[in-house]
Amino acid sequence: MLRTLRRVLDAIYLAGGVLGALFLIAILGLIVAQMIARWTGQVFPGATDYAGYAMAGASFMALAYAMNRGAHIRVNLALTMMGGWRRHAEIWCYGVGAVIAVFFARYAVRGTYWSHKLKDVSQGLDATPVWIPQLLMSAGACLLALTLIDQFLRLLLSEHKGVEGERDWEDAPGENRRTRYVMAGLFLIAIYVPVAFFKGFAASVIVKTAMFLFILFFLLGSGVWVGLALIGVAYFGVTGFTSRPAGDAMITTIWTSSSSWSLTALPLFIWMGEILFRTRLSEDMFRGLAPWMARLPGGLLHTNVVGCTIFAAVSGSSAATLMTVGKMSIPELRRRNYPEFMTIGTLAGAATLGLMIPPSLTLIVYGVTINESITKLFIAGIIPGLVLATMFMGYIAAWHYVRPDQRPEPEPPMPLREKLWNSRFLGPVLLLVFAVIGSMYTGLATPTEAAAIGVIGALLLAAAQRSLTWASFTESLLGATATSAMVAFILMGASFLSLAMGFTGLPRALAEWIAALGLPVITLIVALTLFYIVIGCFLDGISAVVLTMAVIEPMVNIPAFRELGFSMIWFGIFVTVVVEMAQITPPIGFNLFVLQGMTRYQMTYIAKTALPMFLIMVLMVGVLVLWPELATWLPETARQGPGG
């Protein structure tokens, strides 16, 4: 009986994931159809709106599936320190998570019902009754609530340890059922009290703000998944500071932000990275690059930086860049006796270029959050990305001269003809780079369309290499669906939080206060850099961006900044550098985790190897402040490009 129920539930979650994946394919189909229509002078009315609904479908339907795959991210620092009490901490996380998810699901259903009742119709060319695509939101939110309740009960009643990838812990010897029930009861009271207390709660703004911030840090810090934690804290923001209906406002905002067409570039670029990771691309890149790098001061270590730079131009994420390049370069460099410290460190640092050199998930999220052109942001990232790569290579060359004792045996020389012949391995990836960046730069395609071109290019490349099998295709598709559902969920939570912030009036007050201080712009930038370094230690890049932009934007989107060349485009590049740093700072740094998995080194050691790269990025912030044109010049010239 129970076993049947288990199988049915798991099948439902998987079905949600598969449906999400089908919507991801639908996005690709719609974008390609629209692109072809435009090129051939045809019209496909409403294509972008349908792509937006498919985006919502892909995100919502896969929420539960992503949860069960362990794809949703959270700050698990405190959790890992719980030792034998981990189960109780997990009961808290799943308990709070379930409560928030039920709240979310309840209002998703209610919002859909009201859309139907109010006869709400899309304002675009499609004129679809809004409730129809919103059914996907309702279904997905209900599935998420179901899976969290499911996990909560299993943690409470069995020896189950939560979702995949989070099971590396053991219960304390004395652990028993009774303590679990008592804890669960206490937790539910701990959730109920503030919820009841915060409604119509009269206190000074300072007290409310302090409580708001406390709840924010407590939810995030205790290991609640970022998307859910943001929804939870935003709920308190709305109920604490206004008499507005929090749940309805939440769904209005979340639906709009999650069915956005500009967001569709995100899953496509993620998918492209997933496909390329499963091809022979990394081997080919190493073979093509190595002959050219071998004679440089620092030798084959440069393949790390140059390989990451090239792969960054087809991948939007730092982790994907790291895995793809590292898969080949770590064993090859080891075999040639390069010092581990340099191999690991340069790889950890250079992989962060994945975020700076377009395409970039960070810049998509930033652009969507503050409503800035993603094309411009992408183009703005090119020069700073190359400058940063050059600085990384400078570090490798410096090592070569400072530590001659560590140099490995030099590579045997290779005749030029052979070098050139070996370069043919770089052909496919360079072709892909030109297709993706070139199509955007010349205006042949918008970022979303460039992403679609990238996916198709990656599939063709995989097919040509015979690494495109049914298994690798479905793996890449489901992996991309789960990851993009994770990012989309954080964006949903962030959009609600930013609405709550708007209701509280805190960002505006803070911006006015800072403006009144009359600090020099440079001081403010230094302060912001320090601020982002600190939160970057604990939060992943995307969460850090979405969480802070509601507060930071009014502070920096002012004439005093623009006059010095620090436009919002520039600020996007600045944010990207600090987010890059966050990838390699402990205790929470994505690249550190990935490298830990790949090399089995302690995280502290990996962080130490990456420290010089971190310092180079700090230097890069200085370079950007001194020469803001590095970021702003290229988008300006592109603007006056082919259009005249």
């Binding site: 629209q34 435009r38 002078g41 019209v43 009315p45 294509a47 972008t48 009201w114 109010l118 006869k119 709400d120 119709v121 899309s122 304002q123 675009g124 060319l125 004129a127 507005r244 209906p245 309805d248 406002a249 209005t252 905002t253 709009t256 067409w261 500009s262 652009g367 409503n371 800035e372 052109s373 993603i374 094309t375 411009k376 010349t442 205006g443 042949l444 918008t446 609405l499 708007g502 209701f503 009036g505 592109a638 603007r639 006056q640 490009g641 082919p642 259009g643 005249g644």
Partner: protein
């Protein structure tokens, strides 16, 4: 408003979609998520064609006609909004909509094949009737789209073009004054019924004042932005006789289509407007 109600009611402005996004404002006020909001009602013409009355091309092509059209339409729109739990306070016309191009256009025939940014059914239909190619562009990507040739034309106000620094990519602005969209300010009905009569009167007073000031500002700002476009090297001009005649014909088609879609209420509005 704060002064008129002795501080009992104050309005905090969250501008530029900093609270709810434009698309969501009507829904948010309807369901009490926000007490009061401002929105171009014509954006909601998929829901009810009557909302699109202020955006029927070449129906009311100056501020005076726009006021008359609004006077004719207001009772019907108030009634529709009332059914949607909304109380209309006032509506301010936006600057008139003109055509932007990157070449000289002297007749509708010159527009054939031009990539035209259309953002709703009405602008897509306009593209269709003029032989242009409707393209959909996210608001944030518009100037990039013009720069790279993804789009080559749009219909918008001088003010929008001025704010976008559209002269960096486009060369011609035709003051065809196709329509003057109206920004409507509405209150949630439940909130409104909780307001005392004295305060209602004070708010209505403010609304009238604001509507008048808004109209005056729209007129002046139009003048300012058109001069600005010209000062930055754009050719700002009236449509040639041929172009205007072509466009008027398209306007008649679209008026007829609108009336057919909007039914008896719509016909009544048009008749009342034409009778003035």
């Amino acid at each position: 408003v704060g002064t008129g109600t002795d501080g009992a009611i104050t309005i905090t402005v969250h501008s530029n979609g900093s609270l709810f996004k434009g698309n969501d404002i009507k829904r948010a006020v309807q369901t009490g998520q926000a007490p009061i909001g401002e929105r171009l009602l014509s954006a909601h013409q998929n829901e009810n064609p009557i909302f699109g009355i202020d955006s029927v091309p070449f129906l009311a092509t100056n501020f005076e006609a726009s006021e008359k059209l609004w006077a004719a339409a207001r009772p019907t729109i108030e009634k529709i909004l009332d059914e949607q739990n909304l109380v209309l306070l006032y509506a301010v016309p936006w600057p008139p909509q003109g055509l932007y191009f990157k070449k000289d256009v002297n007749s509708v025939a010159d527009m054939a094949g031009v990539k035209f940014r259309s953002y709703n059914t009405a602008t897509a239909r306009l593209a269709e009737l003029t032989g242009m190619l409707p393209v959909q562009i996210e608001a944030a990507e518009i100037s990039q789209a013009f720069a790279t040739g993804v789009a080559e034309s749009m219909i918008s106000s001088g003010a929008t073009g001025y704010d976008m620094k559209v002269w960096e990519h486009l060369t011609n602005f035709y003051e065809v004054d196709a329509w003057m969209p109206r920004n409507s300010i509405f209150v949630n009905k439940d909130v409104w019924s909780g307001v005392s009569d004295a305060h209602k009167a004070a708010i209505r007073g403010c609304a009238e004042l604001a509507a008048y000031a808004g109209l005056w500002r729209a007129v002046n700002y139009t003048d300012f932005t058109l001069k600005g476009l010209a000062a930055n090297g754009m050719k700002v001009q009236k449509a040639s006789d041929q172009l205007q005649a072509d466009l008027n014909k398209i306007g008649e088609t679209m008026s007829a289509e609108w009336t057919a879609a909007a039914g008896a209420d719509g016909k009544a509005i048009i008749d009342a407007f034409k009778a003035q």
